[in-house]
Symmetry: D2
Subunit: 146 residues, 4 copies
Amino acid sequence: MKKIVPYVHRVQYYETDKMGIVHHSNYIRWFEEARIDMLDQLGIGFDKIEARGIMSPILSVDCRYLQPVRFGEDVVISSELTEFNGIRCTIQYEIRGKDDGELRTKGNTCLAFLKSDGTILRMKKEHPDIYETLKNQIREEKTVTS
Amino acid sequence: MKKIVPYVHRVQYYETDKMGIVHHSNYIRWFEEARIDMLDQLGIGFDKIEARGIMSPILSVDCRYLQPVRFGEDVVISSELTEFNGIRCTIQYEIRGKDDGELRTKGNTCLAFLKSDGTILRMKKEHPDIYETLKNQIREEKTVTS
Amino acid sequence: MKKIVPYVHRVQYYETDKMGIVHHSNYIRWFEEARIDMLDQLGIGFDKIEARGIMSPILSVDCRYLQPVRFGEDVVISSELTEFNGIRCTIQYEIRGKDDGELRTKGNTCLAFLKSDGTILRMKKEHPDIYETLKNQIREEKTVTS
Amino acid sequence: MKKIVPYVHRVQYYETDKMGIVHHSNYIRWFEEARIDMLDQLGIGFDKIEARGIMSPILSVDCRYLQPVRFGEDVVISSELTEFNGIRCTIQYEIRGKDDGELRTKGNTCLAFLKSDGTILRMKKEHPDIYETLKNQIREEKTVTS
């Protein structure tokens, strides 16, 4: 299990709305930024995945907004692969203020791995290296209990 | 209970991504479009709510992506108020293709009503007309069972 | 010369920023909405253009912000094809408040027509119908003076 | 004249469109990112400017798209203050690929400094430190010729 360096995002002015805080839709985009960075760190970046003809459509997303994020802040996004069954995986995120360390947002993205024609991909057989990389990121206790 | 006319959104080119389909973050924005339109139809649009000093921050959002949406389509978004306890409410959405009627996305937004200083608002006492309007939108059978 | 029906855009909450007005980058997106709608009205929508293997990358854009646009407004965007030389064209936009008719923003987009492999397309020879449609939209006096 | 360190932006998946390249509206947002970073480097960041009750609405923007930018790239954005007359200023940008150094996009933003009530601000008299900081960023030769 490789230790993932959390992703830092600088909050942009165009990400705010008239309530004076970051618009809630942008956290979904930040999850994507952090997820892509995590896959890069694991050596299986989007460019490599797409070069092998693998698509990874999003199946679902959820997000809980605990404290607002404001312009002028940097946020730190930690990503963890919490589930992977060879076909789909779930990534869990926590967004914290860089300065105060306070938890602002929690969420999950679930995505599938498909062939470029949209059919099911048997990751374990067809891309054993990617399969192993992802499997190794699941925490021991979780693998046992689930 | 007022019948809500579903909201129609024309898919924009800038809403697509390099997968050739609408980027998944945009559905969260479409939920907002439909929610604001629903509140307008109920006579309690954002302008009126904000004019009374009521804030409505988003507490959580979830979305399941069933079928992709593409540029050139119109989508129809139906919104339904499924929960309201006087402090927070949940709105459920279904997004369908306008031409094929096929279900593409389902989701929920949960939001709170607060005073502009961020403190709890007792909607029933302070804004009984808004309270009644929202309460009346909850379907009978749901009110009984929940 | 076909009369183009101006395009109406409802301003969305997510298009505002913490200054309380629409973020300036969104007007560029609204230009695109109006342009696509204009091409649809001319019978040469993006779907038809792309189906013939024609790409239309943006070469330049400019925008002057005269008066801000706010959430809760509808805006009316008029588009006019002001230049077309068979290879590239310029579209001019005016954005007005729907209620007050007041001019808020003016701008232009210049785009090229290319083959899908990125090479120059001789529109007049290869797609004479599209060529005529676009040429007919240029106002007489402008054709003479320029 | 303080030397400004160019701003680096990592291209995000959600910034692409179905043409497979970055959507042209996003460059306007990147200009903003670079501009805010430049002001920070000059010690007159947005937080300081807004804390003094100064608003800085955008008056105009223009952008020329020379070469597309793709997902997976980092871009380097250099910003230069090219005009400042005490009331309004122009910032010029160049966006280059970080790896190839190739020029992709050029553009300008013109913005005004106003009081928070929207009236004209006499920067030289009311905020001489900000005035001097901005004036010092204009290249000598330009001050002479213009």
